[in-house]
Symmetry: C2
Subunit: 96 residues, 2 copies
Amino acid sequence: MLVLITYDVNTETAEGKTRLRKVAKQCVNYGRRVQNSVFECILDNAQCVMLKAILTDLIDKDVDSLRFYYLGNRYQTKIEHVGVDRGIPADQTLIL
Amino acid sequence: MLVLITYDVNTETAEGKTRLRKVAKQCVNYGRRVQNSVFECILDNAQCVMLKAILTDLIDKDVDSLRFYYLGNRYQTKIEHVGVDRGIPADQTLIL
């Protein structure tokens, strides 16, 4: 299923930037970074539980927030994009 | 239906901050700002077309991006939150 993860952090601070980098590093193992703080991850239930626990540990819960949106398996028709594109589809292999 | 709108903009510049402010101003008419650049809006089809056109005009398409995620009417079970909370539910009236 596609899980959209959005992360709210103040990236004007060095600590915020570091936390965002760590969150991104975990998320891109499962999908792609479509915007600066928005990640689209393809996860099964077990992966979802694990990733949620890892991310929850990484953030500062007093000032940051994470939101998880469950878009299911038929998500292609549920997403629209306008403007500059920075990613590749979450279920597409990147060949370097 | 719930439409999740995510906006990618470099808020380290004054112009970026201004564009984000304008986008937020439009979105909060229809819902709430759940994170700095993430808005949950309750829209019918006509409102959705209109808001999309307004936001597309506001952003700088060479450097910013907007993503629209259509979560339908039964969205309550599709969303999870971790950390600090900054908003009120999109379908809840704010009494001042």
